[in-house]
Symmetry: C2
Subunit: 385 residues, 2 copies
Amino acid sequence: MKPDVIIVGGGLIGLASAWKSRIKGMAVTVVDPHFGKGTSHVAAGMLAPVTEAHYGEEEVVRINSASAAMYPSFVEELEEASSQQVGYRDTGTLVVAGDPSDRAALTELVEFHQSLGLDSEWIAPTEARRLEPSLAPSIAGAILAQGDHQVDNRRLISALIEANRRAGTELITGSVKEFEVSKDKLKGVLLDNGARLESDNFLLAAGVWSNTIPGIPEPVQPTVRPVKGQSARLHFTSASHSQGAIFPRYTLRALVKGVHVYMVPRESGEMVLGATMEERGFDTSVTAGGLYELLRNARQIFPGITELELSETIAGLRPATPGNLPLLGASGIPGLTIATGHGRNGVLLTPLTAEVISDYLTKGELSWVLEVCSTDRYKQDAQSG
Amino acid sequence: MKPDVIIVGGGLIGLASAWKSRIKGMAVTVVDPHFGKGTSHVAAGMLAPVTEAHYGEEEVVRINSASAAMYPSFVEELEEASSQQVGYRDTGTLVVAGDPSDRAALTELVEFHQSLGLDSEWIAPTEARRLEPSLAPSIAGAILAQGDHQVDNRRLISALIEANRRAGTELITGSVKEFEVSKDKLKGVLLDNGARLESDNFLLAAGVWSNTIPGIPEPVQPTVRPVKGQSARLHFTSASHSQGAIFPRYTLRALVKGVHVYMVPRESGEMVLGATMEERGFDTSVTAGGLYELLRNARQIFPGITELELSETIAGLRPATPGNLPLLGASGIPGLTIATGHGRNGVLLTPLTAEVISDYLTKGELSWVLEVCSTDRYKQDAQSG
């Protein structure tokens, strides 16, 4: 029997959309060569509608804020459905200025945040160190964003896989080799093991690989490109403690001589350190220089990082789009819906994406989100320009 | 049937001593929980009688030089016996001064080298960069030590295992839980799987773990302590090349604001970056601070390192002794010979150790090396003091 929808891509976006669509009554199949081992695995799990708010990206802020508001109930429902904890933590985020020139940039940013009505305030170095004693004495102040939280992205993947299993979603481990389009309609997908899967509905949620699978006409292919991010995972151990290191409570972001760095501390003692932004195609190598820069900038802000154990170095590929909004909704080919291009905000946008995509798949329901994130917005721009 | 000798420890020292003893006619058994995966695996493979020559350690220089002289024929014999290549490379070593204060320390060191008759000369920055164009323009000169070579320590282990197999050495994978000493003679060893092995001769070559196995009376236990070294393995890739990096030909050592760092480039494009010196017991964690310091100092000398892929981070434990000479020969308990405590020079001292230990085991032959490295030299010091 044909499933109601076949989802190509088992990262956070594909898995959450599958789970929500299944709950809403569809028979769902998800195909992925390595479930949850792509960009979702490399991510840090910051939920940062405020500290990811950039000039000229008011629409991004709007959808980010909408998804952030959904997070607590999404997590509650998912933890219940999966019997797993996903490490949601609402401690807040500090964006630390490394020196006076970084302070100038960040105080301007606070004004922009406040002009959008976001919860963002500038705090002096002493106040920042009172809140977060792990910070270096040399910092030049910080933005406090109480509403920017975090989730453990790897536990989120695990919980979504389990919730899908329990709900009866079919998870097929395999690579889609080709989309079969006939008479301008998507009819099926061919897998690398020779199997052919048919459905009336497909969701393309393959992140940065969404436009690398043959078969979809070029004008319809989503406009995503990989932006490489190198990162590391560290651990606060008993040795770290005995060397006098304090483990941060807040998520720490920083601007250090104009370069961004972040450190996301988990309850478990894990810390995610990230991330470079590099245009290098599909290269996922970790370089000496990438890691060096992260460590150098991080220790300016949190000197105790030197005493943490380095347990993993990894690089991932963010599915970026021009304008930094995701691509959500109808593709232009009957039977093919798209959910990709989440860039730096994929973990944050998971609940909102799953909700609007599952509403669209199950009920054909359109929302303001699909309008803002329409896949043909570039064509509209081109026509109007 | 009892073997003629049971060797406890299957690192470079144990395996090479086994191979040489087997060739000289003994029936040999080696026991190790993970053959070649201890300190020998983490090492960099520098063969550095000159650039490891330190003030007041003339005896260390003497044995290091003797072993370095044996390396070419040792490698030839081993490659023949194993049908494997071990990556011996006689390109030479540069010890680079990071700044003028490092230059002052290194020019003094050259004088010391020359006073010992070692092949060591001071070269100006331009000459150093002519020899090795990968060096930074900012360097303050270098020592050129043409006689300091390198070998791929991991391939050396592999070849020694194969040579032992072909020669008929028995390699038993297991942990020695206890030495059985009765009437002041070592009778056997108990393994963690319950097996008991007997012989009239035992060689204790367990490196930094040599005094952690119960059963040997404390006064007889070798005086070794672990000195932790953090290191990394990098690779020169096509991406490194396209980013304009040049791969070094010489082994690069450096003094950067008084701190030592080394980079050992292999023909394969691998580079070993090392190493911290830390007194931390048996801790083998890699820390953010350890790796950061290595990278920071290395890039002062070889800026192109930032474009290399980081493929491995690892920490190992050097078996250090007071005075930095190994402990070789009779232990004070009949039936127990010792070969441990090689500190920073284990790879270099492998041929010499294997030769003198196998001569001692097979023929009871004493040599100047066993005299210099006698296990009771501390007691003699104490008596004379």
